[in-house]
Homo-oligomer: 267 residues x 2
C-alpha cells in the first residue's frame, strides 16, 4: 500500500503518527517540526501545488495533517496558481478561526484528489478511551466541576472558540482562547489566592461541537499534566474518542507523580 | 429624605456613589475601600445583623452595594443568628458564581425590609449612554470584532460567566473569568505576536444576560483604557444602559491620548 503523506507541523503528534504508519513526510520552511522531510526539502505555503505534485510522484493518495501550526506570514507574490486560487477564501477563513483555516486546507487537498485522514485514524491507539487513564478516582465535586466546564465549552463550541476550560468549586478560572491550553494553565497558576475557591479544580479538554477531527484534534501530553499540576488542579477530564493522549506512558507517570487524575468520559 | 445606606467595597465606584447622594457608609474590616465608615466602625461579614441594626437606627430604608469585593474568609464560629441563617445558601451560591452570591446578599437585605438600589439608580450619570464616548469613530472591522465578542459573551451569559471578551480580526484573544477584566487585558498584552492577527482588536464589556444590575454592575474606568491601550487594542465597546463609566473625564482623556475609541451601543 502506498505511503500516507504526513504534513508535519510542530510538537509530538507528527512523531507519533510517523511511528504508526508508513509515511512520506512533508514539512514547511519556517515551521518548527521534530521530523525530517522525506524528500530532503522543506516546502513553502505559497506553493502548495508542489506539495501535491511531490505526493502524487510517490504514489500517495491519502494524507494526514498533524501537529500545531503557528499562523505563517505569507508572501503573496510567491503564490503558485493552486495556492492563489485559495488566497481569498483563506483571508476570510483566518478571521473565522483556526478550524475554518484547517477546513479550507483540507478542502484544498481533497480538491486535488487526495483523501485526508485524521491523526486518530492513522494512529488510533492515541485516542482517549472511556475510563480512568491515570491517578486517583475523581470525587463528586471534581465531576461537578467537569460538568460545568463542559457546559461552558458546549456553549462556545458553535462559535469556534474554546477547546479547554478550568473550573474549581463551580467557579470558572480559565477559558482557552487563541493562546492555547498551556497559556491558559499558566494564567490559572498565577491566579491570586482570593479568587481561588477551596476546591482544587479540573481542566476539561473537549473537541468543539462539529469540529472536523482531521483538523487540529485536541490533545494532551505530559506538559499538559505538568502545567495542570502547577496550576494546583486535581485532575484532567478529556472527551473520550475525540481527544488524543500523546506520549501516554509519560502522561501516566506525570499524573501518578503529581497525584492528579486523568479521566476520559463522554462516549 | 433618609440617607441611603452605602455598603462600600473596593475601587472608585463607592466614591462616585457617595458623591451623588446623601449616604450612610458601611464598610467591612479586611475589605479595602476608599471611604470611611459613617459610624466610625468597620463591620464584619459574620454579623450582618448588626449592619441592619445600624442602618435602621439612622432611619435608612434603602441601600446600595457598590465596589469590588474579594471573597472574604469567614469565621463560622462568629456568625450572628441572621448571618447563620444565610450560611448554607451562601456555600451553595459561592459555587455558582459571583452573581449568585450577590443575589443572595441582596435577598438577605431585602428580607430585612431594606430596599436595595443599584449604583446606576443612585448615580445615573455614571451609566454609559449610546454613542461615541471618546476617540475616533470605530471602523467596520472593529464593529465586526465587537459583534463576535458580543456573540461569545451572549453564549456564556446564561452560565454566569464572562463580562468581557477581546476579539481581533475575528480571533478571540481573551474571555474574562474570575480574575477580572484587568487580568484578561494583561494576558492579551502578553500574547505572542504569531497569535495576533493584523487587526488591533476590541474589548467588549457587557452585562450578563439576566444579570441583576444591583449586583456587581460592569464598569470601566481609566485603568481599563490604559490596559486596553497596552494590549494594543483599537477600542472599547460597552453595553449602553448596563455598563458604568467611572471617572469619565479621565476615561476620555486616556482614550484620546491613546487614540483609542470608547463606544456605548446596544440600546
Amino acid at each position: 500500500m502506498a505511503r500516507i503523506g504526513l504534513i508535519a507541523f510542530g510538537g509530538r503528534l507528527p512523531v507519533e503518527v510517523a511511528a504508526s504508519a508508513e509515511v512520506h513526510v512533508v514539512t514547511f520552511a519556517g515551521v518548527e517540526t521534530l521530523l525530517t522531510p522525506t524528500s530532503g526539502t522543506a516546502h513553502r505555503f505559497e506553493t502548495l501545488g508542489r506539495v501535491v505534485s511531490e505526493l502524487r510522484s510517490v504514489g500517495t493518495e491519502r494524507i494526514v495533517l498533524a501537529g500545531s501550526l503557528k499562523r505563517p506570514a505569507l508572501d503573496q507574490t510567491a503564490f503558485d496558481s493552486e495556492t492563489r486560487a485559495l488566497a481569498t477564501a483563506l483571508s476570510v477563513a483566518v478571521k473565522r478561526g483556526d478550524d475554518a483555516v484547517m477546513r479550507l486546507v483540507i478542502g484544498f487537498f481533497e480538491g486535488q484528489g487526495l483523501e485526508v485522514l485524521g491523526a486518530h485514524e492513522v494512529a488510533p491507539h492515541l485516542v482517549a478511551e472511556p475510563g480512568l487513564v491515570a491517578g486517583p478516582a475523581p470525587a463528586d465535586g471534581h465531576r461537578a466541576d467537569a460538568d460545568r466546564a463542559e457546559a461552558i465549552l458546549g456553549a462556545l463550541g458553535p462559535l469556534d472558540v474554546g477547546q479547554a476550560a478550568v473550573v474549581a468549586g463551580g467557579r470558572c478560572l480559565g477559558i482557552e482562547t487563541v493562546q492555547g491550553t498551556d497559556a491558559m494553565l499558566r494564567q490559572v497558576a498565577e491566579t491570586p489566592a482570593h479568587h481561588r475557591p477551596d476546591a482544587a479544580g479540573v481542566l476539561v479538554k473537549w473537541a468543539k461541537d462539529g469540529q472536523d477531527l482531521r483538523a487540529d484534534m485536541p490533545a494532551i501530553g505530559p506538559v499538559t499534566v505538568d502545567l495542570a499540576a502547577r496550576a494546583g488542579l486535581a485532575g484532567i477530564v478529556v472527551e473520550a474518542g475525540r481527544v488524543l493522549i500523546l506520549d501516554r506512558a509519560a502522561v501516566v507517570a506525570a499524573a501518578e507523580d503529581a497525584g492528579l487524575f486523568v479521566l476520559a468520559r463522554g462516549e
